[in-house]
């Protein structure tokens, strides 16, 4: 018998009351990153133990086999609690769904249960120094070896949480004789395998969440191919679609929320300034729209519809909103936002938010790319002429 939605909600609320971590109470992602990841793992394991992980995933892989309305209910109950989305969006929101859709029975039973329990954290090895927006231009290669496996050589970059990850989904070129989108394969990669070197990169905020990853003759087995050889672009597209949905659904937002800015204004007495009131009203309207849109998309998923490229709107909305709210924070905080007493525990928050905001317009596909996606796939506008579509990859001009 399926648990009723009301019973499920009660169970979630009960879990959160005992094990939930109120937003802001977890170790700071920015200042105590390792503790944040450790707390995230503990939280996810507790969720799994309570029978609340993998709500829509099949029972065979440790999920609950429930409909999307249960996931929505979970999200609603979790409002105000830390969800550790920065740590888990890639694994649970992106890699998991790809393995569910394209993985072999063996891959699903081997990788999904530990992913759900956070025994293994996953990362996304897609972007390269020479292939960002133009992801299909990647040059990391996988060359067959004698026993049916592959040797991987190349470099990845901007890999979020690679330094905390156990496994990855990786894209590599398996046939440079085919057109750029047709000679790519997706692999599961063990991040502890010999030849994998992870070097954290410092970001504009000063944090080091993303990394460069060097792949020096790393061996993967024949069972590590996800989907079919040379059909990795399909898998990549599926993953990127899930990325947009996940980000629209549960944006990995800036720590500077409108609530925090309003609280600051109330504390500092900047509440009657009509400029501030108007700016707060504008930000409130923007925030409401972004939230209601995310709910609409979740509703579409709930009734089994593919929100597809529309999720790009949610991504753009999240980016715009973060920019608007962090700018408002600087307006309200004034000079304190840009210079603070080192003893003040909340001192750097507003500057951090302002520095964080641009990342939302780049990660997961830049604003420009999202607009092109919307223009071509939602509005059906004619594509740009593409010089590289049907030419064998090795003959393409690059650089």
């Amino acid at each position: 018998m399926t648990e009723t939605l009301a019973d499920f909600r009660r169970r979630v609320a009960d879990f959160l009351a005992h094990h939930g971590c109120p937003a802001g109470a977890a170790p700071s992602r920015s200042r105590r990153p390792a503790d944040h990841v450790a707390a995230a793992r503990v939280h996810q394991r507790a969720l799994a133990d309570a029978g609340l992980a993998g709500i829509t995933w099949p029972v065979e892989v440790g999920g609950l086999g429930l409909g999307p309305e249960y996931r929505q209910a979970f999200a609603e109950e979790s409002a105000g609690f830390e969800t550790f989305s920065a740590v888990f969006t890639i694994g649970l929101g992106m890699c998991g769904p790809v393995l569910l859709a394209l993985g072999t029975a063996d891959q699903r039973s081997r990788y999904l249960p530990p992913l759900l329990r956070a025994d293994e954290v996953w990362c996304q090895l897609f972007s390269e120094p020479g292939a960002g927006s133009d992801l299909a231009g990647l040059t990391t290669t996988a060359v067959p070896d004698d026993d049916g496996g592959w040797r991987i050589r190349g470099q990845k970059v901007w890999t979020t949480y690679a330094h905390h990850s156990d496994r990855a989904l990786l894209l590599a070129r398996t046939d440079p004789g085919k057109a750029k989108h047709r000679g790519i394969t997706m692999f599961v990669l063990d991040m502890t395998a010999p030849g994998v070197t992870v070097r954290p990169l410092r970001q504009a905020t000063g944090d080091a969440e993303f990394n460069e990853v060097f792949l020096d003759d790393v061996r993967v087995g024949p069972d590590d191919v996800v989907g079919a050889v040379d059909e990795g672009w399909r898998a990549a597209t599926l993953m990127l679609m899930n990325e947009r949905v996940a980000l629209a659904d549960n944006p990995i937002g800036s720590p500077v929320t409108l609530d925090a800015v309003v609280a600051l204004a109330n504390r500092t007495g900047r509440t009657t300034d009509p400029v501030v009131r108007k700016a707060v009203a504008d930000a409130y309207v923007a925030q409401q729209q972004a939230e209601l849109f995310a709910r609409r998309i979740a509703g579409e998923v709930r009734v089994g519809r593919d929100p597809g490229a529309l999720a790009s709107i949610g991504k753009l909305a999240a980016g715009r909103l973060a920019t608007q709210v962090s700018a408002l924070a600087l307006e309200v905080a004034g000079p304190d936002a840009v210079a603070w007493d080192p003893a003040d525990p909340d001192g750097g928050l507003w500057a951090y938010g302002e520095l964080y905001a641009p990342s939302l317009s780049i990660a997961g596909g830049t604003e420009q790319i999202q607009r092109t996606v919307l223009g071509e796939r939602v509005l059906g506008l004619p594509r740009e002429p593409q010089a590289d579509r049907d030419v064998p990859f090795r003959e393409l001009r690059r650089g």
Binding site: Y284, L310, I313
Partner: protein
């Protein structure tokens, strides 16, 4: 979640089929098409759609009104639908005799300006519902003998008049002012979404077909991204609008929740329709700037709608809903 079901699609198709016939009227600025209005009332019962059957209406609700408002906005139809639907429903809720309003024979309108200035459809209305949101009171004013000055309007699709209400007989009626205000704001948002949606469609179609430099102009990123931004504005605003419709349709919605949602929807949709209709002109180039093209009619409506029904304290209230102390 969308408040609409398959039955609403049928209503939508019926309204769309009917209002398509009227195109050039707005440009001539001759007011609404009385013949079309009669057909909308006789064939589809739009004037009394949400008025209970015992009072002579069709007994549907706010969601159905929303569908019609979207279609009226889409067609940019000069029509008293919005004002008479809002005022008629308020009068019906107060137990007034609304039979003739439900049939569309008498036109009611609604205004939030106590001085009788800038009353929408004030040039044609027979009765006025005057709402004082701050004082939480609603009055009804018969407009028979009231002197009026029909105004020259930027928006060629909705008339306005200054009404001289001194000496006009007024009577307070028993209906919650905030509900009337929320319905007006919400249905206006529906009109705006309909208009914005149409502008985006025609602009997209034009950009796909107009060729310059040997390519459809919509294949140029500058144009494509402009259209994509229009889509983003539209869909974000639509989420706020649909949310407000769903809450307004639910009689159990509390006053502050309804007020916040309807003000949010109006602010979002005003901004979206303004930007979209303005960029719609740009996407069309020179032809979009001609009198004969519809683009300026939508832009005119967008600019005028953005200041319609505004009690003037929107930013202040919205900031308060965001939690800002006053």
């Amino acid at each position: 979640m969308t408040p609409y079901t398959d039955e609403h699609d049928q209503l939508r198709a019926s309204v769309r089929g009917l209002v398509r016939t009227d195109r050039s009227r707005a440009r001539e600025n001759t007011g609404h098409d009385v013949t079309l209005w009669r057909r909308m009332c006789d064939e589809l019962g739009v004037a009394g759609l949400a008025i209970p059957e015992v009072q002579g209406g069709a007994g549907f609700g706010v969601v159905e009104l929303a569908v019609v408002a979207e279609e009226v906005g889409r067609a940019n139809l000069p029509s008293p639908f919005l004002t008479t639907a809002v005022a008629g429903l308020a009068l019906a809720a107060a137990g007034e005799d609304v039979g003739a309003i439900a049939r569309g024979e008498r036109l009611a309108t609604v205004s939030f300006s106590p001085d009788g200035r800038h009353v929408p459809d004030g040039d044609v209305a027979d009765v006025l519902v005057l709402v004082d949101v701050t004082g939480a009171s609603v009055e009804v004013v018969e407009l028979g003998g009231v002197p009026r000055t029909a105004l020259t309007t930027m928006d060629l699709t909705r008339g306005q008049a200054h009404l001289d209400l001194r000496g006009a007989p007024r009577r307070e009626i028993d209906v919650p002012a905030h509900r009337v205000a929320a319905l007006a704001a919400t249905l206006l948002a529906c009109e705006q979404i309909g208009g914005a949606e149409r502008v985006l469609e025609t602009s997209t179609a034009y950009a796909s077909q107009r060729v310059q430099f040997g390519r459809p102009v919509g294949s140029f990123q500058a144009v494509k991204h402009l259209l994509a931004d229009m889509l983003v504005d539209l869909e974000l605003a639509r989420s706020a609008q649909q949310h407000a419709v769903a809450l307004a349709a639910d009689t159990g919605t509390s006053a502050p929740v309804l007020d916040a949602a309807s003000r949010t929807a109006r602010a979002a949709c005003s901004r979206a329709f303004t930007r979209i209709s303005s960029d719609g002109i740009r996407v069309h180039g020179g032809i979009g700037y001609t009198w004969e093209h519809d683009a300026h009619l939508y832009f005119r409506r967008a600019r005028a709608s953005a200041v319609l029904f505004t009690p003037g304290d929107d930013a202040d209230r919205l900031a308060a809903y965001a939690g800002l102390a006053s």
